[in-house]
């Protein structure tokens, strides 16, 4: 007689009328395949843990986002936010789709150039632009988004030395009715600082003012905040036109679009609460269309969305290391994916799905990573199906930031593979080894021998 499938015994106390702090059961079916490629086979071939990116998903998400804007507004340009995921393969997929590059450091600037992007299609953002990289950006005709007065005067100084006319925009921060108000980047609109900066640029005459830029925050759950931002930026553009008879070529709305992940503490899942690309597009385009900017002067809308374009395409596959009972009787599970690989678990309640069949029974579980550190918590509480040591799981929506903000800490960083639209799996970043890590270390002569 064939033996039955075994599952460890569980008992859950029923609390009627009490809200469940562990949330609702979310897993009903295992994820056995990603883009028709077997999860088990990927793990077998590429190890565990392993990041997986779906190229099909990246392209589909990008096209969906682009369509939301282009059906509402004539001039739209996306610029891929390098910091969200600067794996060269990922950047190149976005560039193939027509995205420019949005970079915030010299390191990212070099990556964009190496990925074949021409200098005039690079938006150079951020508060850290060295004189050396500003020089490169000016020489390449890149779009420099000025963050502060010190940077503005450094650029003015460079124009004289280089005898070039840099293409610049200013970053503008403002109150859009949401909390927190990001005021650390750029010039403030509400207190007149942004208008002052624009006047200084236009009076100087050695700088070509090409755009206005705002990035109002991250994970913006209220799409109408973009309408407020757009209205304020359009006001600046109108005033520039009136005073200087000068047309601003583009308005860059930055990023900040939410992905479908669920924020820690959120009552409802992100899939139900996050605005869609259409919501954002409606809010943004209507702010320009309904402004006092004349139709013949309509600026190009630039979008630097990162998270919302890549999060859904990323997965991390891993293995259960152990199950244990905590002192208060609650269940915990130790997995081989820690916060070193999943930085976003500090703010998301990541979806963890078994990669093999499971029964309908669930247990309230705390999910810990493999690091010998108390902070290594992937899910503080989740109502998860029963998994045993050695079982595999898939954590979804990890494409944004995890492959850039990851840490070489205690363990080495694993392989990253990308599944192309034809279902072929490509290694796009090798797993690190001790040898790689040791390359950067130097041992002083007197320490070569330890006894």
């Amino acid at each position: 007689m064939k033996k039955l499938a075994y599952e460890r015994p569980i008992i859950n106390k029923l609390n009627t009328g009490m809200p469940n702090k562990f949330g609702m059961k979310t897993e009903y079916l295992p994820i056995t395949h990603i883009d028709e490629v077997s999860v088990k086979e990927i793990i077998e071939k590429h190890g565990s843990p392993v990041y997986v990116l779906s190229e099909k998903n990246i392209r589909a998400t990008y096209r969906k986002a682009k369509k939301s804007f282009t059906t509402r507004y004539p001039k739209v340009q996306f610029a891929w936010s390098y910091k969200t995921n600067y794996l060269n393969a990922v950047c190149r997929v976005f560039h193939q789709e027509g995205s420019w590059a949005e970079v915030v450091s010299g390191f990212e600037y070099n990556k964009a150039i190496a990925n074949g992007i021409s200098g005039d299609h690079i938006i150079f953002n951020g508060p850290d632009k060295s004189v050396s990289y500003l020089t490169t950006a000016i020489n390449n005709g890149s779009l420099i988004h000025i963050d502060n007065y010190d940077e503005l005067y450094t650029i003015i100084d460079l124009t004289e030395k280089l005898e070039k006319t840099p293409k610049v925009a200013i970053r503008v921060n403002m109150d859009t009715g949401i909390f927190p108000q990001w005021s650390r980047f750029g010039f403030n609109y509400d207190n007149g600082e942004a208008w002052d900066a624009l006047n200084r640029i236009l009076i100087n005459g050695n700088l070509e003012l090409v755009g206005l830029h705002a990035h109002i925050g991250t994970y913006i759950l209220t799409a109408t905040a973009y309408t407020v931002a757009g209205t304020k930026l359009a006001d600046l553009a109108t005033r520039v036109k009136e005073k200087y008879n000068y047309v601003i070529q583009y308005i860059d709305f930055g990023g900040g679009f939410a992905s479908k992940n669920t924020l820690i503490g959120a009552y409802l899942p992100g899939t139900d609460t996050c605005p869609t690309f259409d919501d954002y597009a409606e809010a943004i385009t209507s702010s320009i269309i309904n402004s006092n900017i004349k139709p013949e002067d309509f600026p190009t809308i630039i979008l630097e969305s990162g998270r919302a374009l890549i999060d859904d395409a990323g997965y991390i596959l891993g293995t259960v290391l152990a199950n244990k009972r905590l002192a208060d009787g609650s269940r915990s599970m130790v997995i081989n994916v820690g916060v070193n690989l999943l930085f976003t678990s500090f703010w998301y309640e990541h979806k963890i799905t078994p990669a093999q069949k499971f029964s309908p029974y669930t247990e309230h579980t705390s999910v810990y990573g493999p690091l010998c550190m108390n902070i290594d918590v992937i899910r503080k509480s989740a109502d998860l199906p029963i998994m045993k040591k050695g079982d595999n799981f898939v954590i979804s929506r990890v494409g944004a930031y995890n492959m850039t903000q990851w840490m070489q800490f205690i363990t080495l960083r694993p392989r990253i593979v990308m599944i192309d639209p034809g279902g072929k799996v490509h290694v796009i970043r090798e797993a690190e080894t001790n040898k790689d890590f040791d390359l950067f270390e130097k041992i002083p002569d007197y320490l070569t021998k330890i006894n």
């Binding site: 499938a5 008992i11 106390k13």
Partner: protein
Amino acid sequence: MNINKNLAISENGFVFDPNTGESFSLNPVGVEILSYLKSNMSKDKIVKTLLKKYDTDEITIEKNYLEFLTMLREYRLIENE
């Protein structure tokens, strides 16, 4: 080990403790072990019975069994003598 003999165990996984009024839900292996305990089956026999029926190994069953007992104690469904 004393098990509360008044426990009402339904075969589809619900357990009611008339002493406290508390209810519990169990998966099939949990129900099975609790039923064996109620009928005073020894640990060794429980492990052997499960091993014969399920596709697993003795160490797994034994460690899961012991941990399950911890939970039954936690919920005061069994008490040490």
